[in-house]
Subunit: 297 residues, 2 copies
């Protein structure tokens, strides 16, 4: 019964369904009005055969299909060299039929992620992880392609709290992909942000002050009620397996529910929102390229 | 007598003198060992005739001379168009005799600063303000060219507190040039950072918790003792004129001294450190270009 307790506004499944339908309708109208323009195309690059990565790529592919986005997969052996991978990226950068390039992470250890992400043309960097786009996010530029997970997190939070101005946000975890990016994005909404990480002293005390807590650590159940202020909004970005192989987040749900019902579920919270925002970014890049403007995005 | 009270370790003049001498000697040795390589060259672009900007350019030029760095000035009329300025940047990007390009800010209102800074080749972006370099800073990449003021701030703090790990830092102000950049840089040293700005609720309470407070707001005397914890380190980045036309910082010194002597002076604190770090960045870019390695930097 505990699942009934959480604030339904934080269901990523429900919100995703709504946004995906809006995107689908908007895209269909765009294509009707611009009959000479081909549909958007997302190309994913998958290195190796990591089970989870393949599953994510499959989710993304299916969602593209549902929305009318064309999607391709470049599948490379795990032994591919960094140079060979860069050649693939260069070709996709130059390929006029490709609007968005997504390199599925993680990459094998012999490949420098930073070098690969830097190589993606910023105009096709649908994940917003190239240094150029990260710099634009930092500058609060409207030109920035913002990473999908932070975008999804902000959309979820705004369901419960539309006015973010002045809210104190503690972000636990400082990955580029989530922690650092979501702090910058929330600051652009006039939040005050604290970055909490493994070297932070008294992290609980800082978290307890926060109106909103975003947890992206990758450690099951690391956050319990002692970290959370009464009625705070808690966004759980973690995806872990517990001892019974169930998918669980970074937050100890049963404990945190004693403080607040404003807790995003895992699964069905940030995960589907990330894929939805990937669709939104793909359409955004395509629109920008073909100079298509609509009221929606 | 109050000037005698501040912690001399936070004198930017003293520390700058030491670092500049080290840079001068290091550069001299580099040039002796690499006799075919020309000295580093910094080119500054000044638009208009703002008195303070001209003064800063002049300081930088003189410091280059002292260190054996060649410096040039491209001086443009305030009516120059954005397109014309971009042509100048493009030429400097392609000019093999130039290692570092610095566009003196502020630019006139009709020019989009972001567009101009984005145009600088990241390998010549000596101020570290292009989106690409900002993104590398965010990624904690060793390849990043870090902006000069944040670099200078960290050098000053480390004089008083060499071990930054776990320190709680409140940064007041969220400019790209200082506030956001210094937070990312300090986080790379394992500090915990809070970004405080005009929309922050209870900013005093948050500041009072901090071991280190960096103030970069541009408002004379905005921070007094009620914001500062006993013996905290306070770095004053502001440069303002008081009613008697004296140069003062953002911190009310007489008040803050009641809480701590660890306050950087204005003038003579962050200002000279910024110019020193500009010299360091220029030499760094030059060394990278000519693949010169030394023990110093």
């Amino acid at each position: 019964m505990r699942d009934l307790k959480y604030n339904k506004l934080l269901s990523g499944l429900t919100l995703s369904t709504k946004i995906r339908e809006e995107l689908r309708v908007d895209l269909k109208e765009c294509l009707l009005r611009n009959s000479t323009v081909r549909p958007p195309c997302l190309t994913m690059v998958l290195v190796g055969d990591n089970y989870a990565s393949k599953m994510y790529v499959d989710f993304k592919h299916k969602t593209c299909q549902q929305l009318g986005i064309s999607s391709r997969l470049v599948s490379l052996d795990s032994s591919v060299s960094q140079e060979e991978l860069l050649v693939v990226i260069d070709k996709l950068n130059q390929d006029d039929s490709v609007d968005g390039i997504l390199v599925q992470l993680p990459l094998p250890d012999h490949i420098d992620k930073q070098v690969v992400l830097s190589r993606i043309d910023p105009r096709k960097d649908v994940d917003g992880l190239s240094p150029y786009n990260q710099g634009l996010l930092m500058a609060a530029s409207s030109e920035a392609v913002v990473p999908c997970t932070p975008l999804g997190i902000v959309e979820l939070i705004r369901q419960v709290e539309p006015n973010l101005e002045g809210k104190l946000v503690a972000v636990v975890g400082r990955s580029l992909l989530v922690g650092k990016s979501v702090r910058l994005l929330l600051e652009n909404y006039n939040c005050t942000t604290i970055g909490i990480h493994s070297k932070t002293k008294n992290p609980q005390t800082l978290c307890q002050m926060a109106d909103i807590v975003v947890v992206a650590v990758g450690h099951a159940g690391i956050i319990d009620k002692n970290w959370i202020k009464k009625d705070a909004i808690v966004i759980d970005v973690g995806i872990n397996k517990d001892n019974s192989s169930h998918t669980v987040g970074d937050v100890n749900r049963d404990s945190v529910y004693e403080q607040t019902i404003n807790l995003s579920p895992v699964p069905g919270g940030v995960g589907p929102m990330t894929i939805t925002m990937l669709m939104k970014n793909t359409i955004k890049l395509w629109k920008k390229r073909f100079k298509i403007k609509t009221k929606y995005c």
